[in-house]
């Protein structure tokens, strides 16, 4: 029992990712029949990048939904979807990316492939990180709003030309199960499959390339990291600025200086690596304080 609990604690994030992906995509009949779920759950936006055309998806993708509302003929501000994004962002920030996103799970699993020399970051990483904000502004907001057909309807540009999650979780299973869709394959699918292939290969060498450089949802949640209810704090009385947190961080964040960097996905590697126990979350603060008091009492 103790061993099981220890194992669960050590693998809590992977277990949460697997459970959330399975629960959010639990419509098994969809995979068997090559159809998608059409129930009331699709009124609700999922927190992570979870394509609503995935045969198993029980909810809606927030980025797809945002584009759908913005591209609608009536051109309204997307109050409903922005409301969901504010709620998830204010509660969790990019914890969603680290713990709840299905495409994040895929990248994590690929990075676990051994016998390959891992690269901490791509050349130009500092500038490439801003690409996701450009994609958010251009492909998710401006193009769906501005480029319209003759009836005044826009298109979901990010879903159409970039999203690898849609290709992997929706495109491949639906096309495999539907011969009529196979007949309609063209250059667009080839383009999207190529993006997916590049990201799959990159994910083996670099940790989470899509989340780091391309994901518009990560760009949104990252802005909430400094204010979210769940965030990290550094205990200045304990931190020695030894830099072990940055060494342990697969995203190369100097956590001791920037505990709430917009890039941090809250994987917790820095907290485990800190020899002084100086990094804690706002939720675990009480426990950390009690431990500090205990250790001080012990020393005294």
């Amino acid at each position: 029992m103790v061993r099981a609990m220890r194992w669960l604690r050590a693998h809590a994030r992977m277990v949460a990712q697997l459970c959330f992906t399975a629960l959010g995509n639990g419509y098994a009949a969809g995979f068997a029949q090559g159809k998608i779920y059409r129930g009331k759950g699709k009124f609700i936006c999922m927190p992570g990048l979870n394509c609503y055309s995935c045969p198993g998806a029980l909810g809606a993708c927030p980025i797809g939904s945002l584009q759908a509302v913005l591209a609608d003929r009536n051109h309204r501000f997307a109050f409903y979807v922005v409301g969901f994004l504010l709620i998830f962002g204010a509660l969790l920030g990019r914890l969603v990316c680290g713990w709840l996103c299905p495409f994040g799970l895929v990248q994590d699993l690929l990075y676990r492939i051994p016998f390959v020399r891992k690269i901490k970051k791509l050349p130009g990483d500092r500038w490439l990180r801003y690409l996701k904000y450009g994609i958010l502004a251009g492909f998710v907001v401006i193009l769906p709003l501005m480029v319209l057909d003759i009836v005044g309807q826009g298109r979901p540009w990010f879903c159409q030309y970039i999203c690898p999650s849609g290709t992997l979780f929706a495109g491949i299973p639906l096309i495999a199960a539907n011969p009529p869709l196979q007949a309609a394959l063209g250059w667009l699918f080839t383009w999207k499959a190529a993006i997916l292939a590049v990201l799959v290969v990159l994910s083996v060498f670099v940790y989470r390339p899509f989340c780091r450089y391309l994901c518009p949802l990560g760009a949104i949640y990252g802005l909430f990291n400094p204010i979210a209810l769940y965030r990290y704090e550094i205990d200045p009385s304990r931190c020695t600025a030894c830099g072990r947190c940055q060494k342990a961080c697969k995203l190369d964040i100097p956590v001791y200086r920037q505990p709430n960097s917009p890039e941090c996905i809250r994987c917790g590697a820095c907290r485990e690596a800190c020899p002084e126990g100086a990094i804690h979350s706002t939720l675990a603060r009480k426990k950390a304080r009690a431990q500090t008091k205990g250790s001080l009492d012990g020393r005294l």
Partner: protein, 48 residues
């Protein structure tokens, strides 16, 4: 009070999020999301 100061911005965002969600739902945006999410999105799967 101290806790409110620490989490004030998050709570304000949370409340704003709930308010926007309700405004959007009343304005019919939930139906747009539902309609889009319950039909196969040809753009998403690379055919549209």
């Amino acid at each position: 009070m101290k806790r409110l100061r620490q989490h004030g911005a998050a709570l304000a965002m949370l409340l704003l999020g709930v308010a926007l969600l309700v405004i959007g739902a009343l304005g019919g945006e939930a139906e747009i999301v539902f309609r889009k999410a319950t039909h196969i999105c040809m753009e998403c799967i690379g055919l549209g």
